[in-house]
Amino acid sequence: MSEPPLKFILEAALLAAGGPLSLDHMQTLFPAAGIPEKPRLKEALAELSQDYEGRAVEVVEVASGWRIQVRSAYADWVSRLWEEKPGRYSRALLETLAIIAYRQPVTRGEIEEIRGVSVSTSIMRTLQERGWIRTVGHRDVPGRPAMYGTSRQFLDYFNLKSLDQLPTLMELKDLDQVHPELDLRFPEDVPAETEQQ
C-alpha cells in the first residue's frame, strides 16, 4: 500500500493522541529510514490547518506542541455534552419566589414574616442569578433593605404575559379550579427560547 500523505498521518496521530504532540514526538512515529524533517512537518501541519478551514476543528500550536482542537465557536453545543442533570429547587425557594411575585415590591424581612422562617442568602442569590427577581429599590427604613420584584424573564419562563395571569390569592385556595385557560404546562414543554435568556 502506498503511504498516505504526511498531513493525514499527522491528523491520525494528533486525533488519536487527543492532545498536543511536539515535533520531536511526531518524528518518532516514523521508521528510521523515513523520518520527515521538522520543516516538512510544519508544512504538513499548515496544509492540515488549511483543510480545516470552515470545519469544527483547528490546528493550533500550544506550549507543548501542536494539537487539533474543537473551535470555541462550538463551545455551546459541546458544553452540553457534559451537562449535569438538573437538580430541584427547594420548597423554601419556591415559596420565596411565589411571595415575591404576589407581594412585590417586598423586602427579605417581609418574606420572612410571611413564611415564618428566615430566608437564606443563597436562595436570594439563586433567584437573582436565574434572573427571575431583581432589586427594584430600597425601603426607607433603618438598614434600607432591598425590595425585590419579579423580572421579565420570570414572566417569560412561566409563559405569562403579565402577572395578572396568575390566579389571585383568593382563587389560590382552590388551585385546581382556577384559570382553566392558564397555561399550567410543565416547563419541559415550553420552547427553549423562553428558558434561556
Binding site: Y74, E83, Y89, Q104, R115, G137, G149, T150, L175, L184
Partner: protein, 271 residues
C-alpha cells in the same frame, strides 16, 4: 488510550523462551510419529489449549475429517504427546489423561465384535467425541475470527480533540407554574395570610407596576410624574401606573414634590 498491560499470563508467550524439556533434559530426540520440526514442537506443546485442541491438531495435521477419525493411530499419537506433556506440565496432564482414557475406550469398543441384535440402535462410539471436537473447533475458529476483527487501540483509535472553552455546565432546575402556585398556597395556608395580611382583591399588575416604577426612580434626582405614565399603554395601562404610584406613596416608598399648585409633579425614591 493504550491497551494497558494485560496480566502476564494472558499475553501470548514469547516463543523464543520455550524449550521442550523431557525429564530435565532438552528434548533431542522426537517421538517417531511426530512429523513436525523441533521448533514447532516446542511451541505446540506450550500452546495447546487442552486435549480437544491437541486432538484437532493431530487430525488436521493428517488432513483428516473430524467425522472420519482413524482412532487407533490418533490414539497412539495422542499418547505420545501426553507423555511429553506429563514431563512438562504436570498440572495440565489430568485433563489430557481423561481424554486418553476416552480414546482408549473408543478404541476397545471398536475392536469388539458388535452384537448383531442392536444393529439398528448401534451408535458409533466416536459420535460423542466427534460432536465435542466439532463443537470445540467452531469456537476455536470463532476466536481466531474475533482476533482479526479491527480492534480499538490496536487497529482503530478513538479520535479525540480537546474543546477549550467548553465547560461542564450545571443545568438549571425546571419549575412548573403549578409547583410555584402550590408552594404559595402552602405558605399562605401556613401563615394564614388571608386574615393576617388583609389581602384585597388587588390586581397583580399594580404590584408588578410598583416594582417597575420603583426601578425607574432613584433617590438622587426627581423624575417627572408624566414620564412614569405612558399614554401608549392605553387607558388601562395609565390607570395601573397611577394606582402603582399611589400605592408606593402610601407605603412611603417614594416621595412626591410639587413646588406650587398646578406645577409639574416630581417623584423620587425615598432615600
Amino acid at each position: 488510550m493504550t491497551e494497558g498491560v494485560e496480566a502476564a499470563e494472558l499475553l501470548a508467550d514469547d516463543p523464543a523462551r520455550l524449550r521442550a524439556l523431557v525429564r530435565g533434559e532438552p528434548l533431542k530426540e522426537l517421538p517417531h510419529d511426530l512429523y513436525i520440526p523441533p521448533d514447532a514442537l516446542e511451541v505446540f506443546l506450550e500452546t495447546f489449549e487442552g486435549p480437544l485442541d491437541l486432538l484437532l491438531y493431530l487430525i488436521r495435521r493428517q488432513n483428516l475429517d473430524v467425522l472420519d477419525i482413524p482412532i487407533a493411530s490418533i490414539t497412539k499419537q495422542y499418547m505420545e504427546y501426553v507423555e511429553l506433556m506429563k514431563d512438562l506440565r504436570l498440572e495440565l496432564a489430568a485433563e489430557y489423561l481423561v481424554m486418553a482414557a476416552m480414546l482408549a475406550e473408543i478404541k476397545s469398543r471398536m475392536l469388539l465384535p458388535r452384537p448383531p441384535v442392536d444393529e439398528e440402535e448401534d451408535i458409533d462410539p466416536r459420535a460423542e467425541l466427534v460432536r465435542r471436537l466439532q463443537e470445540y473447533e467452531r469456537y476455536k475458529t470463532a476466536a481466531e475470527d474475533l482476533d482479526v476483527l479491527p480492534r480499538q487501540g490496536r487497529d482503530v483509535f478513538p479520535a479525540a480533540a480537546p474543546a477549550p472553552g467548553a465547560e461542564p455546565r450545571q443545568r438549571e432546575p425546571e419549575v412548573s407554574l403549578r409547583e410555584l402556585l402550590g408552594a404559595l398556597a402552602e405558605v399562605l395556608g401556613r401563615a394564614e395570610m388571608f386574615t393576617h395580611h388583609h389581602v384585597r382583591k388587588e390586581a397583580l399588575s399594580v404590584r408588578e407596576r410598583m416594582s417597575r416604577t420603583l426601578e425607574q426612580l432613584n433617590s438622587e434626582e426627581f423624575t417627572a410624574f408624566a414620564d412614569l405614565l405612558n399614554p401608549e399603554e392605553g387607558r388601562l395601562g395609565v390607570v395601573v401606573g397611577f394606582l402603582a404610584i399611589l400605592e408606593l406613596i402610601k407605603a412611603s416608598l417614594i416621595e412626591l414634590v410639587q413646588t406650587e399648585p398646578f406645577a409639574p409633579i416630581y417623584l423620587r425614591a425615598r432615600a
